[in-house]
């Protein structure tokens, strides 16, 4: 498979409840290969839960997820070397392993699966850190980094395996506007240079409009609106309009 191309994602009738409380009530979503899909919605609407299902971290009560037509559970059951494409996730809090250096965090998957030689790994780490403007910080520990730097290391870690799908859970939460713009530019650059399919959960509509190919609005556990990013303002969905008014934004 061409490593520079993303894969499609198809979510059908996804349902999930926690302790009897429904969170996802039948989510249907299709993300085309190589596009940047931004999922927006209020707090507690189930955006992160949806993303964790796509990453295979949660088991749905009902519904299916397909990656390039392959059922997610079939994909997850494959040994790492047999997987036809790779999936990476950038967690809200970066989720770096605090006992490992930046370089060890970025190269963790490559080292554990022994897919590359030591010099190759060093080159990949240096390249990925350069891409997120953190060149030279290989020896630092996560505890020595700012929140924005940790997020960028997490993105570098995601990039290190040349994924065809990258999932981001609130990548700009708790970041200042300048860092938010930088992360947005980075996501665009990944699309331009690598063509990976990217799904971003955000409540930042400005960022969504700036970087998204399409925007899906999640409310009450369902996708209530789905638009090309530039056409979101023309949506006749009352919740989307309310959301836009609250954010005081025009696309």
């Amino acid at each position: 498979m061409d490593s520079t191309r993303g894969v499609s994602i198809e979510v059908s009738g996804l349902r999930k409840s926690f302790n009897g409380t429904p969170v996802l009530r039948g989510v249907d979503l299709r993300v085309a290969a190589g596009e940047i899909m931004v999922i927006v919605g209020g707090s507690g609407e189930g955006k992160s839960v949806l993303l964790r299902h796509i990453a295979g971290l949660e088991a749905p009560d009902a519904g299916t997820i397909r990656l390039n037509g392959m059922e997610l559970h079939e994909y997850l059951a494959l040994p790492p070397a047999a997987k036809p494409f790779r999936l990476s996730m950038v967690f809200q809090g970066a989720a770096l392993l605090n006992s490992l250096s930046v370089a060890d965090n970025v190269s963790l998957r490559l080292k554990e699966h022994r897919t590359h030689s030591r010099p190759e790994i060093q080159r990949i780490v240096a390249t990925c850190l350069e891409q997120v403007d953190l060149g030279g910080s290989e020896a630092k520990l996560p505890g020595e980094l700012s929140g924005g730097m940790r997020k960028r290391v997490a993105i570098a870690r995601a990039l290190a395996v040349e994924p065809q799908v990258i999932l981001y859970d609130e990548p700009t939460a708790d970041l200042d506007p300048i860092l938010t713009v930088q992360i947005g530019q980075l996501v665009k650059r990944i699309q331009d240079t690598r063509g990976a399919t990217q799904v971003i959960v955000a409540h930042d509509l400005a960022l969504a409009g700036e970087i998204g190919t399409h925007i899906a609005v999640l409310r009450d556990g369902r996708i209530v609106d789905y638009q090309p990013a530039r056409e979101l303002a023309r949506s006749d969905n009352p919740y989307t309009q309310e959301f836009l008014r609250a954010a005081n934004l025009k696309f």
């Binding site: 302790n19 009897g20 295979g56 989720a95 395996v161």
Partner: protein, 272 residues
């Protein structure tokens, strides 16, 4: 109609005594199930690769080497207290059996149980807190998305290290405890025997089987503490409070299981 200020009761918190009892039993069964999953998962993955070896050595230092000063202090004073207590009780009869009392108590019972408690309180709690914190910070999930098995990566090195460290610590505690007893024998005027008599009596009564029973206990306690600590760490929910709950539960469960398995091993040792 429900008023806005009315508290909404969580479905899990409803019910009477029977419902709460049922939930508690289900929770215990779930913990046992998860513990079995961690234990058999670790056993199935017991391949000493170079990477596992490196991580295991790091854990061995944290669990074993770093516990040595504390183990020294505890064992020394336990041995000393044993001699003082036993000497006082035996004043009317004979203090010539002091060596065997201290030796047997240390090798068969106090050494393994005290070291088990020490490791559960010191290293077990640290493991539960570390894995708990990794769980709530999504680090475990990050490993899963990288196709890295958390059992292989995190549990196996800790499991091997603790199972190896505890028997070694028990041997160490036995020696220090018996030495502590000898120190008291040498200077306490209430003890009427010499250090030579103390050691002579000790070597007459202690045989290899006593030491082996103590080491078997160490092996079992090491498995218990590592499995329980990892299980509670990996099942942590919530934030800092969840980590605290998991850490406390890991220590309490380890203590209780150590005592229960201590009885079982003693029973079996006497039978065979």
């Amino acid at each position: 109609m429900t008023s806005a200020t009315e508290t909404i009761e969580h479905p899990q918190h409803r019910g009477g005594v029977l419902a709460r009892l049922g939930r508690a039993i289900l929770e215990i069964l779930q913990i046992i199930g998860e513990g079995a999953f961690v234990f058999f998962g670790a056993l199935r993955r017991l391949r000493l690769t170079v990477r596992t070896w490196e991580r295991m050595m790091g854990q061995l230092v944290r669990i074993g080497t770093d516990t040595l000063p504390l183990a020294f202090l505890v064992s020394l004073f336990v041995g000393m207290v044993l001699v003082i207590q036993a000497a006082d009780q035996l004043q009317q009869y004979t203090q010539a059996i002091l060596g065997s009392i201290v030796g047997l108590a240390m090798t068969k019972e106090l050494g393994p149980v005290i070291m088990g408690f020490l490791i559960a309180g010191r290293a077990g709690s640290a493991i539960a807190a570390e894995l708990g914190s990794m769980t709530v910070n999504d680090e475990i999930n990050a490993l899963k998305t990288m196709d890295i098995d958390p059992i292989q990566f995190l549990v196996v090195p800790r499991f091997i290290a603790m199972t190896l460290a505890l028997p070694m610590l028990i041997l160490y505690a036995d020696v220090i405890g018996i030495s502590g007893g000898a120190i008291v024998v040498s200077f306490d005027p209430a003890v009427k025997i010499s250090v030579y008599q103390y050691l002579d009596n000790l070597t007459q009564w202690i045989n290899m089987q006593d030491v082996v029973v103590g080491l078997v206990k160490g092996l079992v306690f090491g498995i218990i503490v590592s499995v329980i600590s990892c299980t509670f760490g990996l099942r942590t929910k919530g934030g800092a409070e969840g980590v605290a709950v998991s850490t406390t539960a890991a220590v309490v469960w380890s203590f209780v299981l150590i005592i229960i398995f201590d009885y079982i091993i003693v029973r079996l040792a006497i039978l065979f």
